[in-house]
Structures are given as structure tokens and as C-alpha cells.
Symmetry: C2
Subunit: 366 residues, 2 copies
């Protein structure tokens, strides 16, 4: 298992990558944009979200795994309390996250970092803000066990799933070769397969990438141009406009402790390497307009404020109000078609299903 | 508004209604069952769940209201924390409730009574365990405001909905005659319209009622016969097998304080009438096998235990183990087709959307 999939190679990216402007423009912004040239440049840096899931490493997106994964994703009985499911913090109707600074978990505890969206997450090179999970399969095992999230144990999760014939059947169908299909690993595989289908294609930006010149407004095109020329694209590139590399938050100037709490050292907590102090995975920007609040601390609610702050902390530039507005307008073009998900009918509990932990020791009157 | 829609007329129903057996049987239970006669008798007491929503009093089930109601049902931003939605306690995948003794609400508080299922709830003569809401429209306003549930205020809920163009459009479409469509009342109407579609037709029992003699097993038929002849049907009749009248829990013998906590006086808290002490609305039994734990206290997890306890407390009879098993088998035939619900894509928050209360006073960096 490759837990640290990428070296932390941020230094080469510190300076703006691209400086050639796509079209002659001044601050008036009224100049003609050369769409063909802008689209060509953009296609060198970004890719549209596909409509179909990608191939997974060590897992297969079969209809049976997706179906099982969908059930697991919505099942609160995977948590110690039987009250929290994956969907509690990664809601299908809210852009794949919960629009909370940090999520509310077991016992109403707040987690330490903002919940990232699960939409398109399969395209990130690693999962979590510090990249501590190589893929969504490894990632899925975290929240189920985290004491501030679902607070469960692998054993209890497997006992819960094994207690329901409805689940056992689904695991058998999803893992037909397995001698013992109901395992914590297979739970994670099914969750990964389901999440690999949570894609948001057809954003305005993707239509533009594909050559539809009218898919973006003039303002959004100027924003795209600035997004590239100011250097945002140094970290935010690829299909997810981020989610690929690790960079210090405050490369040029550290934000205040309110936005960058000094006790969360980010990737340093994974690698124990001094150069990884306050290093985080660059946030993927797909659907960013609907996944506020922003940053790992979730302390900034406005996209404009977030863009402005990034200019200062990462690029050492005070972006003008107009630039912030244009870049933000561009970022709003990254909202794609949201996944249409049917709420799964979950298997019935049985007398063998463990009760919520709070009631485990009580005379249950079974 | 008619807040107390039904007089508390339980006394006339205290004795078993029906004593004529459907077929000659003894405890061996091996006798031939006269299906035609049993079906005829059952049809006098019960009705199948229809596939279409009923007419509502003062509301109309239009596609626009159902669509809006579905969005509202799944939207956690109707709660003070932005973390709790209707679906948190009335989950579409778990029989329309949460399989908790009592629900976990704002600040991880436990509510005072077991969350009833929303499936088929439109057929109940009144809502809540004490019938304090006349219908689902009135009911919908309760949990949004209850301090142990969603802990919101009508004003903040309306401000939240009004802040999102996506919602304003939906309200306009759902209430085309209204001058001011985004109101707390219309929110409740839309929620009622959506819930009126949450029906579970085609249970084995309903097929039997419609003349399919093989829809129930012999054991289930004996259970149905006993359900009628022992007197369960006195309170549990009609389309929902309950949900129509009010009866003292412990009509014959009060259960222990563990199951019937002495500080919850039930309908007395609504009517302040001494005869309503420990009086509750008879639980509707549709999908009862998947909506454990049982009773207003949610203290009993096993359907067998619940049936046995009802025999003693309501009928003054110690049901034999065989009778309990047969009645339970019958009750398991009440699980119908579960609603297929597409998870709604919710409108985007805007800068005007109130933040979760915890963050309302903080410098939000908007």
C-alpha cells in the first residue's frame, strides 16, 4: 500500500506558470477575447469531467458494487450511534459535502478539518486534506472509525453488516469470488465504487473546454485568463483543478491563525518532515461555488474572500476587486451536473444486529 | 385550526371487538383456513394502502408541491445547526424513521418520544404520539422549532429559504396564486404534499385483502385471525392498523416505568383531562417490522416482546408463545413496497443565507 503517493514537490511551482496573456486586455476588460487560443491553452492545463467512472486501482466499478456502496453510504448503522452515515457529512444534495466549517460527528463533536466533497474525488491523487489515504478505498475506512466522526470499530461494522441477510446477499453479489465477502475491506471497496460514479460533468467550463465558445461569459473568460496568468493554475490544474499536489498554505504569506490554526500542521502530521509544516493538498475546485465554507479550517464563507486571500498567501499579490470578481465568476462555471442518486432502501435489522452503543449494555427487551 | 381532532373515545373499544373465529382451529393450528371468510372479515376492518396519495384538507398534492416538499425534507439548512433535516429522523431508507429509541437532535439531545414513521402517516387521523397536530401540515412546523430537534425559528427558516433564488422559484411554482409564496405555512404545506406520496402499497397483507389467498402463509393467516379475535384490532384497525384513536397505555395493566415512563403523561399533556393520563394514539402498524424499537418510549427492540407486552397491558391476556409468533408473523406481512425517492439537488446558499447559529455571531469572513 502506497500511503504517500506523491512527493511534496511544491517549490518548483511557487512561481506563476503561465504569463502569456490570451488576448490583449486592460483593466477595462472590454477587449475581444480570442476563444480559440484561450480554449487551446486551457486544454493544456485542464480536462473536462468525464461522464463515466475511471478505472480503479485494485477495484472494479461493477453495478453490484455501486449498488452496495450506495446502500453503505446512506446507512447510519455503520456508526456507533446508528445516527451518522457517510451522507451526513457528504450530502448528495449539497455538492457532496455539508456546508459546515467542520463537520458535526459522534456526540456533536466538531471534526478538526472541513469535509471535502466526494463528488469527483476519485480523480484526486490522494484523499484527505493531508493526503494520508492513497485512494477512496483507504479513505472510506477512516471516518467509520474516527472518534469524532462515526466512532465505530471495524469489528462492529462487520458484525452489523453480517447480521442482515439483505446485506450478506449484496456482498455476495458484489464480491462473487470472495470466500468471506462481508469484510471491512470489501465495505471500503464498495464505497469506493459508488463514489467513483459521483461525477459532475457538463459544467459551463467543461463545455468551453470542448469548444463551445459561448459556454462562458466574457467575465468568466477573463477570470479563466487571470486564473492562469496570475498563477492559481500552478496548484489548481488537471481535471479537478487541484487535488493533485501538496503546497504550504501561506507559501508567500501565512494567513492569520483564524484561517490557518497554528496547531494543525497539515501534511507534517503524516510525513513528520519539517518542510511539510502547514502543507496541504491543493483543494480541488470542481463545484467550489456550492461547497463553502473554504479551506481546511472552513473559516471563510465567501468565495471572493477565499480568492483574495489565496492571492496574498500563495501568490504574494493583492488581486484587484475586478480580478477577484472575474476569477470568482470563472470558478462558478465549475459547477457541473449534480449526480442523481436514488435513496437506497436499506436491509432490515435483525435481532442479531448490534444496537447503538448507547443501548448495547442496557436490558434491551429483545 | 382544529388542534384536537378526535374525542378520546377509547372506553367503548376496551373489550375485544370480534370473537367469532374464522375457522375451526385449536392450538395445533393445523386446521384448514377458510380464506374466503377470513378475507371477508379482514376487509370489514382493514383497507389496503392505495398507490396514490389521498385528497388533503386545505392542501393539494401537485407535482410542484411534492418536488418542493422533497427538497425541504432533505434540507439541513432548515435546522439551526444546518446539520439536521427531516430525513435525519425519518429516513427514507429505514422505513421512514431512524430505528432509535428516541431521536438525536440539536446538540446531540435525545427527544422525549420515539420518532414515528412518515410512511403512510397521511392516513393517521392526527399526528404525534399524543395527536397534538391535526395533520401533516401542522405537524411539519413542530420539529423545525423544537429545541431538542431542529431548534430553528419560523423567521430564520423563512429567511433561509428566501435567501436562495432556487427556493423562491420553487415556492412560486408550488403556490402560483400566493402573493408572498415563501412562508412558514407554505413550507409546511409542501412538506405535507411530499409526505402524502410516501406510501407503501402491495404488502403481503394488502395482496391478501385483495383476494390473493397465497399472499400470506398459514402461520400469518393464523396470526391475522388471532390479531382480530384477541382484540388487537380494537385499536389497530383501518388502513394503517392504528393511528386513528387514543387509548391508555396499560388499559388493563400498566407496564413498568422502563417502558412507560411515569413523567410522560401522553395525551393528558394536550387535553389536561384526567382521563387522558398515559393515553396515546394507537401506533399505526404498517411496516412495523422495520420500525423498531417500539412504543412511545422506544424501549422495546423485539416485535415479539412488544406483542407479548401489549397482550398483557391492553388485553389482560398472557398470549402463548405460539400466538405471539403467529401474530408477529402476521405483522411482518404489513411491510409494503418502500417509496423510491430521488435525492434532491438542493438550491445553492447565497451570501444572504443565514449561517448555522453557532457561526452567526462570529466574523464570518464573508
Amino acid at each position: 500500500m502506497r500511503l504517500f503517493p506523491r512527493t511534496t514537490a511544491w517549490l518548483v511551482l511557487a512561481a506563476p506558470l503561465l504569463t502569456a496573456p490570451a488576448a490583449a486586455q486592460d483593466s477595462g476588460g472590454a477587449q475581444k477575447i480570442d476563444d480559440a487560443q484561450l480554449i487551446e491553452r486551457a486544454n493544456e492545463l485542464f480536462d473536462p469531467i468525464p461522464t463515466d467512472p475511471p478505472e480503479l486501482d485494485g477495484n472494479t466499478v461493477t453495478p453490484e458494487r455501486v449498488k452496495l456502496g450506495r446502500m453503505l453510504f446512506f446507512d447510519p448503522r455503520l456508526s456507533a450511534s446508528h445516527a451518522i452515515s457517510c451522507n451526513s457529512c457528504h450530502q448528495m444534495g449539497l455538492g457532496g459535502d455539508d456546508n459546515q466549517p467542520t463537520s458535526i460527528g459522534h456526540g456533536w463533536q466538531r471534526g478538526p478539518r472541513n469535509a471535502p466533497t466526494v463528488f469527483n474525488a476519485v480523480f484526486n491523487s490522494a484523499q484527505f486534506w493531508d493526503g494520508r489515504a492513497e485512494d477512496l478505498e483507504q479513505q472510506a475506512k477512516g471516518p467509520v472509525q474516527a472518534s469524532v466522526e462515526m466512532a465505530n470499530t471495524p469489528d462492529r461494522a462487520v458484525a452489523t453488516l453480517s447480521s442482515m441477510p439483505g446485506y450478506v446477499e449484496q456482498f455476495e453479489a458484489a464480491f462473487p469470488q470472495a470466500e468471506d465477502p462481508v469484510t471491512f475491506d470489501n465495505m471500503a471497496k464498495a464505497l469506493e465504487a459508488f463514489q467513483a460514479t459521483l461525477l459532475t460533468p457538463n459544467s459551463r467550463f467543461d463545455l468551453y473546454l470542448k469548444g463551445h465558445e459561448n459556454a462562458l461569459s466574457a467575465k468568466q473568460k477573463r477570470g479563466l485568463e487571470e486564473f492562469m496568468s496570475t498563477g492559481c493554475v500552478g496548484c489548481h490544474n488537471g481535471v479537478n483543478l487541484g487535488g493533485q499536489g501538496y503546497y504550504p498554505f501561506g507559501l508567500i504569506e501565512k494567513p492569520g491563525a483564524e484561517v490557518l490554526p497554528r496547531d494543525d500542521k497539515g501534511r507534517f502530521q503524516v510525513t513528520k518532515t519539517a518542510s511539510d509544516n502547514y502543507v496541504f493538498r491543493a483543494a480541488p475546485l470542481r463545484n467550489v461555488a456550492i461547497t463553502q465554507p473554504y479551506f481546511h479550517s472552513g473559516k471563510v464563507w465567501s468565495l471572493e474572500t477565499a480568492v483574495s486571500l489565496m492571492g496574498i498567501s500563495q501568490l504574494g499579490q493583492e488581486l484587484s476587486e475586478e480580478e477577484v470578481e472575474e476569477i470568482t465568476a470563472f470558478l462558478r462555471s465549475l459547477t457541473g451536473d449534480q449526480p442523481r442518486v436514488e435513496y437506497p432502501v436499506l436491509p432490515e435489522s435483525t435481532d442479531a444486529t448490534p444496537l447503538p452503543v448507547e443501548f448495547e449494555e442496557s436490558p434491551a427487551k429483545r
